[in-house]
């Protein structure tokens, strides 16, 4: 990529404009998320904004695996869930304090790291292709465990718990002269705002961390491994060690995202953290955004989240409009949106394997 930059310096470079567009979009999304509580004031929108923040971290950490290292893992929700369940169980049993988040979240992150190291050492050593299968099996066992060990996890119903005082809606961050909650631009400065900004800044920090990792020498080695494992090994990089390290890093960051999600939702259950449909969401987001671009994660998450909320509305209209025809309305039912997304996904992998960000930035497809 450095080469094309040098060569095409004098003329207008399409890759450069593409890159500018991507940076622009990402910056715009970042700004929108930063001011989300002021821009979009209904409950549903703040929910979407927080979900986008958490999923950007989750998807970006998955991109570190699939895009930068060429590892396909289906266990990412497992690590996400470990962080979330750790936090949730501690908050439930220790009471709603910061110590609970620290202890529970810490335990979740630790468990994720140990499990990732174990899986990595065991199956990355064997054969890369086994890895996808082993992680799928591990993730499904974890999902069953979470719903079976109902003494700890409350099974399918999940856990509902209190969060620290600061994040409760009744909390007054700022008060006006009468002692009521101060409103800035019509937004009440209560605990919800504190919770949102906790999620936002923590996510931003984690994303920044990921950007640092892929730009570091480690990131370069990872791309070398992805491009040609044998050559990387031949120059003296221990491929298995690097792969395992990256898998552990990604697991830790996913678990951190899980903590944020647990604190924001005040609920943790199999459907919000561990379920296979979330794994599919992550996969779709990373491919749509662009594998191996990091910034693509941001675009992919935003697009998918929008689609999840608004495509369904659109399909509802289409379904009722075609209600006269036999099979068509069933295909257009809002619940069937994954069908169309799956189709889009396949076409994308065939024709634009680099995703939106990758295509715009003209990153070479590997």
């Amino acid at each position: 990529m450095a080469n094309t930059e040098l060569v095409s310096e004098p003329v207008a470079d399409p890759a450069r404009t593409g890159r500018m567009i991507v940076y622009g979009i990402v910056a715009l999304i970042g700004l929108a998320l930063l001011f989300a509580p002021f821009l979009f004031q209904d409950v549903r929108s703040s929910q979407v904004a927080a979900r986008i923040c958490v999923f950007i971290v989750l998807v970006a950490s998955f991109d570190l695996l699939i895009g930068y290292t060429g590892i396909v893992s289906f266990a990412h929700t497992m690590f996400f869930g470990l962080g979330a369940y750790g936090t949730a169980i501690a908050l439930k049993n220790m009471g709603a304090g910061w110590d609970a988040i620290l202890v529970g979240g810490g335990a979740g992150v630790l468990a994720a790291a140990v499990l990732a190291a174990l899986i990595g050492v065991l199956s990355l050593r064997v054969k890369a292709i086994f890895f996808a299968m082993v992680t799928l099996a591990a993730a499904s066992v974890m999902l069953v465990l979470a719903s079976q060990l109902s003494g700890i996890t409350n099974g399918e119903d999940g856990l509902i718990y209190q969060v620290p005082e600061l994040f409760k809606p009744a909390m007054k961050l700022m008060t006006d002269a009468d002692g009521k909650v101060l409103k800035i631009f019509g937004v009440a400065m209560n605990g919800k705002i504190a919770a949102y900004y906790f999620v936002f800044f923590f996510s931003a920090f984690l994303f920044w961390l990921l950007m640092r990792i892929v730009r570091s020498p480690l990131g370069t080695v990872l791309e070398a491994i992805r491009e040609n494992e044998m050559r990387a090994e031949a120059i003296g990089y221990r491929v298995v060690a690097y792969r395992t390290t990256v898998f552990v890093i990604a697991a830790i960051i996913a678990a951190c995202a899980g903590i944020l999600w647990a604190v924001w939702l005040r609920y943790t259950g199999p459907d919000t953290t561990l379920s296979f449909s979330i794994m599919i969401d992550i996969l779709l987001m990373v491919v749509i955004g662009g594998m191996g671009t990091m910034l693509g994660a941001v675009i992919g998450v935003v697009l998918m989240s929008m689609a999840q909320f608004y495509l369904k509305d659109l399909m509802e209209i289409a379904s009722s409009a075609t209600s006269g025809i036999p099979v068509v309305p069933h295909l257009l039912e809002p619940d069937r949106w994954l069908l169309w997304l799956g189709l889009l996904f396949i076409l994308l992998v065939y024709f634009f394997p680099a995703g939106i960000a990758g295509t715009l930035m003209k990153k070479g497809t590997h």
């Binding site: 396909v72 064997v126 054969k127 299968m133 099996a137 465990l145 599919i280 996969l283 396949i346 992998v349």
Partner: protein, 335 residues
């Protein structure tokens, strides 16, 4: 747990080596289970389950061995097979409930046949449309077949809805035979023998025919066979179609075995199928049979002895075997 007959070397190898593992499991399980009659029931159930899983796993294993194609959409064939068989049996309800062996048998053959036919056609379509453009690119293979799996699962929801479907079982195969104080369900015997027939047919086909020779040679070294002038890609389509047919038949059998099926069935079985393929070693049907029998037996014994451990037991089995033999028990190449 598989107690390791690996330790005492050549004598055990002479009597079958790793093939003794399921036998060892049965022997170890007997004192743990306690009563002989429950042990026998569990063993028969485990063997029947293993044979059905074998039917689903063998195709996946061969497809991977021959063309290095990993098909995550394999479970779609299983689910479709199960639902098609259930629908056919429901449509032929009169034959299913009839007191005539011939009509029973016809209904059952029609159900399994319909599933197999679907597997054949869908396998061809799947290979040509979904898999062919991404030969030799594992990452995109996984992504594309995953996308196809999403679509297939959604289509099942469109056609059959999300509610669990009950499967009528032919009168011929319901009920059980009493041997001493052991009650054995007829369906389990049927499943076991059908699986055995499939295995023997596959084994003979691979080891006694010219096509089988080419397939085995292709698994060993595809480039070399192609260099000798054989069209491996044509053989591959046939293998892929055979694999999807077997998966659909396995799904049909599974539907009858469970009696109640839901659209998530394929996804749940896919995990077992993967474990079987990993345990057995890629590319060999002997390995798949071995792995499937072990998984089936393990699942049934552990569910009886330590119910709490049941869900993690097969995962543990895979862990132990991967530590002991990283390539699986009986891989086609380098085993």
């Amino acid at each position: 747990m598989p107690s390791g007959p690996n330790a005492s070397g050549s004598l055990i190898d002479r009597f079958g080596g790793v093939y003794l593992l399921p036998l060892a499991m049965m022997i170890v399980a007997l004192p743990l289970v306690g009563s002989f009659s429950s042990w026998a029931t569990l063993t028969v159930a485990g063997l029947a389950m293993g044979m059905m899983i074998f039917m689903m796993a063998s195709g996946l294993s061969l497809v991977f061995g021959l063309m290095d194609v990993l098909n995550f959409g394999h479970s779609a064939f299983i689910t479709f097979g199960a639902f098609i068989a259930a629908s056919v049996l429901a449509a032929l309800a009169a034959w299913v409930q009839a007191d005539s062996l011939v009509l029973n048998f016809l209904a059952l053959s029609a159900a399994i046949g319909a599933a197999a036919l679907f597997g054949l056609v869908a396998g061809w379509f799947f290979e040509r449309v979904i898999v062919k453009p991404v030969y030799r690119d594992h990452l995109r293979q996984i992504l594309v077949t995953m996308g196809a799996l999403i679509i297939a699962e959604q289509l099942i929801l469109v056609i059959w809805g999300g509610a669990p479907l009950s499967v009528p079982r032919p009168a011929l195969l319901s009920g059980s035979i009493i041997l001493g104080d052991v009650a054995v369900e007829v369906y389990r015997i049927f499943a076991f023998f059908l699986g055995l027939i499939v295995f023997v047919a596959l084994y003979l086909m691979l080891n006694r025919t010219r096509v089988g020779l080419l397939i085995r040679a292709g698994v060993e070294n595809r480039e070399m066979v192609e260099a000798l002038g054989f069209r491996i890609d044509r053989i591959f389509i046939a293998v892929f179609m055979a694999g999807s047919t077997l998966a659909a038949m396995g799904g049909a059998m599974w539907a009858g075995y469970q009696g109640l099926i839901s659209p998530t069935l394929g996804g749940e079985l896919l995990v077992l199928v993967f474990i079987v393929v990993i345990i057995g070693g890629l590319g060999s049907i002997e390995g798949s049979l071995l792995g499937a029998l072990m998984v089936g037996l393990m699942g049934n014994y552990v569910a009886f002895i330590f119910p709490k451990l049941a869900l993690a037991s097969n995962m543990l089995l895979m862990l132990i075997i991967l530590l002991w033999r990283p390539w699986g028990l009986k891989p086609a190449v380098g085993g």
